[in-house]
């Protein structure tokens, strides 16, 4: 099995592949960052505060 080596740490190919897949999802969905920032974090969520 191929292994990615970083110092003393060996990460399995399956783990590395899953991390790569999730990283791709982050990159592809990067526009969501601004939505989360502007709509959820900067604005007060009415459900959260019980209005």
């Amino acid at each position: 099995m191929m292994k990615g080596v970083a110092g003393e740490l060996k990460i399995g190919l399956k783990s590395a592949a899953l991390i790569a897949v999730f990283t791709c999802m982050i990159v592809l969905g990067r526009d969501e960052y601004l939505i989360i920032l502007e709509r959820f974090v900067k604005l007060i969520c009415t459900s959260c505060i019980g209005i």
Partner: protein, 267 residues
């Protein structure tokens, strides 16, 4: 070869965890300075309704995207990467609501409410959270979330007492928090064990995440010190580090007199 924590490092593990928990709470609230509000999501249950929140709550964001009919690619990807890197360690080391549970019930308690029997409850909560968002087109879970009550509803009310529009859900929030605190006094990490939908997601990564706890069978004398100290009620040695309930807090690692447990990178 694995990078392990041994010897003197273990003695300081619990203190380190406390420091990390305090730091995580501080970082979660760095939105007090508005420019430090970010669009990232935090890998633990911290409500973005908090006036000082710096991150989005993953459960709140997931529901909101479902309500909008969009697929939350960035959020799922973020949860995936964080889950792969840390498995459920964020629950044990960073979650402010988990920290509250540690304060309320610092020791493990063996009650009749056995963890194994109800471990799936949090998956039902997760499913209900997502399905209700889809059908009701509203963030229903957020209206009942005790974490949202503690970190958003109550602080908001204290900061803005003149705000007159608090409705019935504010009181439902407070009731949910009171009930959770009561149950957390009876059962250690009650919310994390049975109800946390984010814990359900993070727990799945305990099977594949790169951080785990390794059990050395040859060193183990079966004294059960580790299981007795587990606040998540893990009952079998085989489940330490891999159970969806394990929060990788390291209490078992520290408790083991034979040093048969250690943090390990899964290869």
């Amino acid at each position: 070869m694995h990078r392990n924590l041994k010897g003197d490092q273990l003695v300081k593990l619990e203190n380190s965890r406390r420091i990390v928990q305090v730091a995580a709470f501080a970082v979660s609230n760095m939105g007090l300075i508005r420019v430090l509000k970010t669009g990232f999501i935090c890998p633990f249950l911290y409500c973005h309704g908090c006036p000082f929140a710096a991150f989005g709550c993953p459960i709140g964001v997931l529901q909101s995207f479902i309500v909008d009919g969009q697929f939350p690619l960035f959020t799922i990807g973020s949860l995936g990467v964080l889950g792969m890197l840390s498995a459920r360690a964020f629950c044990g080391w960073a979650c402010p609501f988990g920290t509250l549970h540690d304060i309320l019930s610092p020791t493990s308690r063996r009650t009749e409410l056995k963890t194994k029997n109800y471990w799936y409850a949090k998956y039902i909560v997760l499913l209900l959270t997502l399905v209700l968002a889809w059908f009701a087109l509203d963030t229903i879970f957020c209206k009942f979330c005790p974490s949202g009550s503690l970190f958003a509803a109550i602080p908001f009310r204290l900061l803005y007492p003149e705000f007159a529009e608090f409705g019935v859900f504010f009181y439902i929030h407070v009731l949910a928090l009171a009930l959770t605190i009561f149950l957390a006094l009876l059962v250690s990490r009650f919310w994390c064990r049975y109800l946390c939908p984010l814990g359900a997601i993070a727990g799945a990564f305990n099977k594949v995440g790169i951080v785990t706890i390794h059990w050395d069978k040859e060193r183990c004398k079966s004294c059960n010190s580790c299981l007795n100290t587990c606040t998540m009620g893990i009952a079998k040695m085989e489940e330490v580090g891999t159970s969806t309930d394990c929060i990788l807090c390291g209490r078992c690692v520290e408790a083991c007199p034979e040093k048969a447990l250690r943090f390990q990178v899964r290869s």
